[in-house]
Every structure is written in C-alpha cells, then in structure tokens.
C-alpha cells in the first residue's frame, strides 16, 4: 500500500526517501512505478538520530517514508508534522507510530483484509490481490471509509473496484496535501 502511495508522487518526478526500512522490496517498488534513481535509502539509523534524519529528509525531499519510530515524544511528532506541512512534503509513517502520532495524523490508512488470486494447489503463480483499506483521520478524512482495491492488479498496477475510485483518489490527494499518514501494511 505504501509503495502505491509513493509511486503516484514519484511518477511526476518527485524525490522520495525511505528511512529505516532495510527489508523493503525494491524490485516491487520499481514495479509499482517508483523511479529508483530518485529514491534515497537510509537503511540503518540509530534510534537517537531518527528524528533528525527524518527532519533533514523532510526539508529536502517531497515524500518521506519512515519505518516505525523507536520512541517519540509527542512534541517531536508535532514538530515533524508541522515541518512537513510548511515544506509541503509528505511524511508516511509505517506501523502504529506509537501514542505520539495518535492525534496529529491527517490521514490514516490500514489494510483490514486481503485475498491473493492466482495460485492453486501447486499450479499457477501469485497474480493479483484484493485488499480492503480502512481510511480515517481528521478534517475531510475524518469519516471512516472502507475501500476495496486491487493491489496489485493482475498484470500490474493499482485499481479501485467499482465506484470507490473517486473516494480513493480523494484520500490520496489528502495525503499529498501535506499530511502524516499512519499506515499498516
């Protein structure tokens, strides 16, 4: 889900940074549409430096994806959010993000169910997946939504199912407007 979010921005030539996610599948990132030449990776960050590294990245990058922070005071979290808003950057924090992010998050996305299509008892291969995404947050995104998405579609790409597409776009736009999203999955 995260990769799909970042890919939309990367397609327009934005820079993105990935902090403390050493296990991220970069081939999958390229398949999702990320331009790897414009993705900076900082795989190992000491927990004391997490805030300053994310801060520097927010100053210079358009999209910052960060792994779960070690421990964060809510003041630091608020400061990072406002820095993102001021620079018109997007901070995507994976995992629950601790209590620090509990109120400051603009959009919250969570995968609540997923179903893979493709393989059978020994035949075929993984082809596509349908996931159910629960959105929430504050402001325009406060009303919880349940969206079914193909992630990825058989043959690549992302698509919403049925008429839910408009709502999904709105959700992603909200994120790009300078938000902090806590996404699981």
């Amino acid at each position: 889900l995260t990769l799909a979010l970042v890919a939309a921005a990367s397609a327009t030539g934005s820079w993105s940074a990935v902090v403390t996610l050493p296990d991220l599948g970069l081939v999958a990132a390229a398949e999702a549409g990320l331009d790897l030449a414009r993705v900076a990776l900082v795989p190992d960050v000491a927990s004391t430096q997490w805030t300053s590294v994310v801060g520097v990245m927010l100053d210079t990058m358009d999209v910052v994806v960060a792994g779960p922070p070690p421990y964060l005071r809510s003041g630091d979290a608020r400061r990072l959010s406002s820095r993102a808003r001021e620079r018109e950057a997007v901070l995507v924090v994976l995992g629950r993000g601790g209590r620090a992010w509990s109120d400051g998050v603009d959009v919250r996305l969570a995968v609540v169910g997923s179903r893979w299509l493709g393989p059978d008892q020994g035949h075929g291969r993984l082809e596509g997946r349908q996931v159910e995404v629960l959105t929430g947050g504050r402001g325009a995104a406060a009303r919880p939504h349940r969206v079914r998405v193909w992630l990825p579609m058989p043959g690549g790409g992302v698509a919403a199912e049925g008429c839910a597409g408009a709502e999904l776009d709105a959700g992603i736009d909200g994120v790009v407007a300078g938000a902090v999203a806590g996404a699981a999955g």
């Binding site: 599948g25 081939v27 390229a30 790897l36 900076a40 990776l41 520097v56 100053d59 210079t60």
Partner: protein
C-alpha cells in the same frame, strides 16, 4: 614554468593502492579487476605471475587461489583522504596525482624539517601511520625526492632521495618505458634510443619538430625539468568576519545592524574568491566573558541578507533570555545540536560578534534547467543527502540499482549516494516481465536439467553459451530464465527467516531430486510461531545456480504459499532447510 625551471618535489607512493583501499594485505594473493583486466594486484599475486593488464581468466589460471575484487575508483579516493591529510600536516599544498600517489613541492618544508632525508623519513612515518589504520600488514609506503615531479615519481618507486642536481644523471640509465606514453616508448627504442639519457640528449627543437607537444613534455620529463606545474588541491578555507562592539550592545536591533555590515563583508569576500557558504557559525562574547556560539545551515548558499537574518534570530534568542549558557568554560562549543546548553542566553551586553564560514562550496551559480536537466528539487535533494552523509557516514545513504538475478533480493544493488549507479549483474531493467518465467516452464519434470539450462548467459568463466554458439555482445542482456515472476514481494528479508513446512500428516515437506514436492504443504510456521494452514500454493521452482563454481554454487527451490489469513510468502528450500525469503505484503 620557464624554459629550464625545475620544482624539487617529494612524491609519496603507496604501492597497489586499490588493494590497500580494500584492506587486503600484501601476503594475500588478490587482484582488482576492471573490464575483465587486472588493474592492480598484491605482491603475493605478483609472485605467482599475475601482472597488470592480464585478463581475469589468465590471472586466475596463473594463481588459482586469487581473490578477485571489483574496481571501485571512488572507494580508492575516499580511502586515500587520510593519507593526504597526513601529508598536509607537513605542507599545505598537496597534489593528489591519483589515489595512491601524491606530490608536494619540498622547498619550504625541507628546510624547516632539516633537509630532504629528514623530511622523507618523517612523511613516510606519518603516511605509514595513516595507512596502518586500513591494513594490518606492512603498508610498504615509499617516498622519493628529486628535482622534478617526474624524477621524484621514479625516485619514489625506488624509495630514493636524489641529491639536488643529480636528477638528470639518476634518470639517464633508466629505460624510456617509464615515460608511460605507449606511442612514444614504442617508437624510441626502434630509433636506437633505449634510455632516458639518450632521449634527453636530443636537441629540444628537433624533438619538438618530430614529436610535437607530447614529445616535448616527455623530453622535459627525461631531462628532469618540470613537464607541468604541480596542481595543489585547494585546502579548505575558513573565513571569518569579526566586529568589536564598544560600548557593549544590549539591544537586538543595534547588534543586528552591526551584523548586517559584517555579513555583507563576509559574502563579498567569499564571492571574490568564487566561493559561497552553506553553513555559518555565529559566535558572541559578552561583557562578563561568556562565549556563545551556534551553527546555522542553509539548504542553498547563504546570501548576505539570509546570513544577517540568522544572526538577528540568534541574537534575539540570546539577548531575550538572559540565562547563563553552559558553553562558557572549556574549548569553544561545537554549536548547533551539539551545544551542551542549547537554551543559553547572556548575562550582559555583547562586546564581540564573530561570523565564521564553516562550510564553503564553489559558487556555481543557480541557473536551473529550462527543460529537463537538474531541477531545483534534484539539487535540493542532493544537498540534503550530502548533509545526511556528513551526519551518518558516506555508506549510510544509498540508492538502489536493479540488475539481473532470480530472487527478489539478488536483483538489487545498493550504491552509496554519489557513486556511479551500475548494476551488480547485467539483466533486463526492473519491472519488465520475464520472457521465460517459471509459469512458462510449468511444473519441471526434470528440475536438475532444466535448472542447468537456466544458467545465465553472462561472461563468467566456465559458462557455455548454448543458444547460438557465440559469445553475447555487450548490448545483449541475459534474460535470467527462472526469475521469480512479478508481482514482486514488498518485503524482502535481509536475513531470511527460518520456517517449517509440513504436510497433512505432519511430516516435513521436501523437494525431490526431480524438482517436485514430496507431498503437498498443509501448514507452515515462521520463526517457530504458530502454525498457519496453507490455502493455496504454487511451485516449486528449482534453481541450480553457478554449478560450475563450487565456491558460490547454490541449489535452491522456491515456493509461493498463501495462508488462510491472507499472507503470501516466498519460501526457499536450501540444503534441507526452509526459509522465508520474502513476504508479499
């Protein structure tokens, strides 16, 4: 450089630098290879007959235990920096000829340190110390001094100090090959000129008429004259501007007014030298002797008004708070986030204000691309990453390059930011569907044979090219049959997680020599966790890679498994153990 000028030069030469940079001691047979040719090798490899310029296979056949390392010019240069710093302790103008060799003019330092011999011994000691950090064996650094850069380089190879005036005689009996100009050194012996002395004896005008500019320069080298001026590297400059305030200033606006003039002066100074500043340190002293300092950084370069703004903001903070800063005793505060008491203030008026440029960069203007090219965002991102590299070290900030490979992890190579982006193995660009994935191969009946055929057609020793009986041209990319098909997993475990796979009856599942599962998987457990029932599965896809090389030979079988809770894993069986290589998240 006049017609007969000669700059007495000291040359430091670290033999086999690319290997020292990799941390390989001279006793281990190893070679650094670029474009399939040996670029450098250790003394142990040389004793076995490995030479510069031989092909990799030739080198490996002469010395079967040879360690082959990839050529990495940026690593060489980075590793050489401590050596340059060690030499810079003696004199400020050091020329880095190439990683592994640097030169300085000896006139001043030689007198100061008590003669050429003493200087050479001291420099060797200092450089030995700097190299010993990289290497636990004897580094074998050599230092030579002679009347011209070329003669000094030759003297350094022999570890000799040539007395003033003797350089031409020192060079005279040596072969012309040392000039390192293949066209010229091929021709001269055929003209009967085998030594540098014989070449130097020719009249200069005749050499110029016959061999042109290149020849004239070689002729000057052979006569121990300057063939080119030493190009010293620009030592980092620190510039500062200072103003004493009398009477002590208590008000922000008064101090800011003084700071504005100071910032203007500093910026003008830098601009005259074609430089700009990206980081400044603001220091102040109060009438009670307190010293305050803080570092400010700009994501572009500082203009004078931006600099004055920073000073005003900082003074605002200091003068408004009136608390005592902990930075008064001891050495000057490192400033910025490292300041032990960031919420410091002053207890009196300011008497001194100083602006120091901490980080200076060449001012290359700010012209942005009209169409394409580097955009403002690219530049900004580059600066941010450079800053992070300063914070965490050059290896901590990387970008990824996709190359060839079968598993999802093998296709990625991480390159430190700023190094050239080249894939580890040639392959189709990422994201393109494989022409011959496992789904085409179907359920392999004879896994062993199929997998052998799946060996990549790259230029690796022992590879037989089966398709058309010709070697692949550089533009031809291998197709990596047997690649795990897209969609690729979003989580690739850096250290694969151990897993257990059992069948319906609880027996462990294996893969037979013919590449089929011994029984259908029913439940899996990852890292000893709870058992999850398998809903569907696909595979196995055996891969027998690099069977021609026992050292890196791997036999694996991959299996895609979807459990009832919707998780999909890529499992790998290798030497009887299942691991989770990646997770489709």
């Amino acid at each position: 450089m006049s017609a007969s000028s000669a700059t007495r030069t000291l040359v430091v030469w670290c033999p086999d630098w690319p290997l020292v940079a990799h941390g390989v001691p001279a006793e281990v047979p190893a070679a650094v290879v670029h474009a399939n040719r040996v670029v450098a090798c250790t003394a142990a490899a040389r004793a076995e007959g490995v030479r510069r310029g031989v092909r990799r296979r030739e080198a490996q056949s002469r010395c079967p235990t040879l360690d082959v390392l990839a050529h990495d010019p940026s690593l060489d240069a980075r590793a050489f920096e401590p050596v340059v710093v060690a030499v810079e302790a003696f004199t400020s103008r050091v020329e880095v000829t190439r990683p592994g060799t640097c030169a300085v003019a000896t006139r001043g330092p030689s007198r100061y340190f008590g003669g050429d011999e003493m200087l050479a011994a001291r420099v060797r000691g200092a450089v030995d110390g700097a190299v010993a950090v990289l290497l636990d064996g004897a580094p074998g650094v050599r230092v030579g001094i002679a009347d011209s850069p070329f003669a000094a380089a030759v003297a350094a190879r022999r570890g000799k100090v040539v007395r003033p005036g003797d350089s031409a005689a020192f060079l005279a009996p040596l072969p012309v090959d040392l000039l390192d100009l293949p066209e010229l050194t091929d021709l001269l012996p055929r003209l009967g000129l085998t030594t540098l002395g014989a070449f130097a004896a020719l009249p200069e005008a005749d050499v110029a008429a016959r061999f042109g500019t290149e020849g004239t320069r070689a002729h000057r080298s052979a006569r121990a004259l300057d063939d080119r001026p030493l190009v010293a590297r620009v030592a980092p400059v620190v510039r500062c501007a200072m103003v004493e305030l009398d009477p002590p200033v208590e008000r922000v606006d008064t101090a800011a007014f003084a700071a504005k003039a100071m910032a203007d002066g500093l910026c003008r100074d830098l601009a005259e030298a074609g430089l700009a500043c990206t980081c400044i340190r603001i220091e102040a002293e109060t009438e009670h002797g307190e010293q305050l300092c803080r570092v400010w950084r700009h994501h572009r370069v500082f203009t004078s008004s931006a600099m004055a703004d920073r000073v005003r903001w900082q003074l605002d903070g200091w003068l408004a708070q009136r608390a005592v800063c902990g930075c008064t005793e001891g050495p000057p505060c490192p400033g910025g986030l490292a300041c032990p008491n960031p919420a410091g203030g002053t207890s009196g008026g300011l008497t001194l204000l100083r602006l120091v440029s901490e980080e200076i960069v060449p001012d290359d203007g700010r012209q942005q691309g009209f169409w394409g090219g580097t955009s403002a965002a690219d530049e900004r991102a580059g600066r941010g990453l450079a800053r992070l590299q300063g914070l965490l070290g050059p290896e901590a900030v990387v970008t990824a390059v996709l190359g060839g490979g079968r598993g999802p992890g093998e296709q990625v190579r991480l390159v430190p930011w700023g190094d050239p982006r080249e894939p580890a193995r040639p392959g189709p660009p990422g994201g393109s569907p494989p022409r011959c994935g496992p789904e085409v191969a179907g359920r392999p009946r004879t896994g062993e044979r199929r997998a052998r055929r799946a060996a990549p057609r790259t230029a690796v020793p022992g590879t037989r090219v089966r398709s058309a009986g010709r070697s692949p041209s550089p533009s031809e990319v291998p197709v990596w049959p047997g690649r795990v098909p897209p969609p690729s997993p979003a989580v690739v475990h850096r250290h694969p997680l151990p897993a257990e796979v059992i069948g319906e009856g609880g027996q462990p599942v294996g893969v037979s020599g013919r590449g089929v599962l011994t029984l259908a998987p029913a439940r899996i457990s990852v890292t000893g966790g709870p058992w999850a029932a398998v809903e569907t599965w696909a595979g196995p896809w055996p891969a027998d890679e690099r069977w021609w090389d026992p050292a890196v030979h791997r036999r694996r079988a991959r299996l895609q498994v979807v459990t009832v809770d919707g998780c999909a894993h890529l499992l790998t069986l290798e030497s009887g153990r299942w691991t989770v290589e990646a997770t489709y998240d």
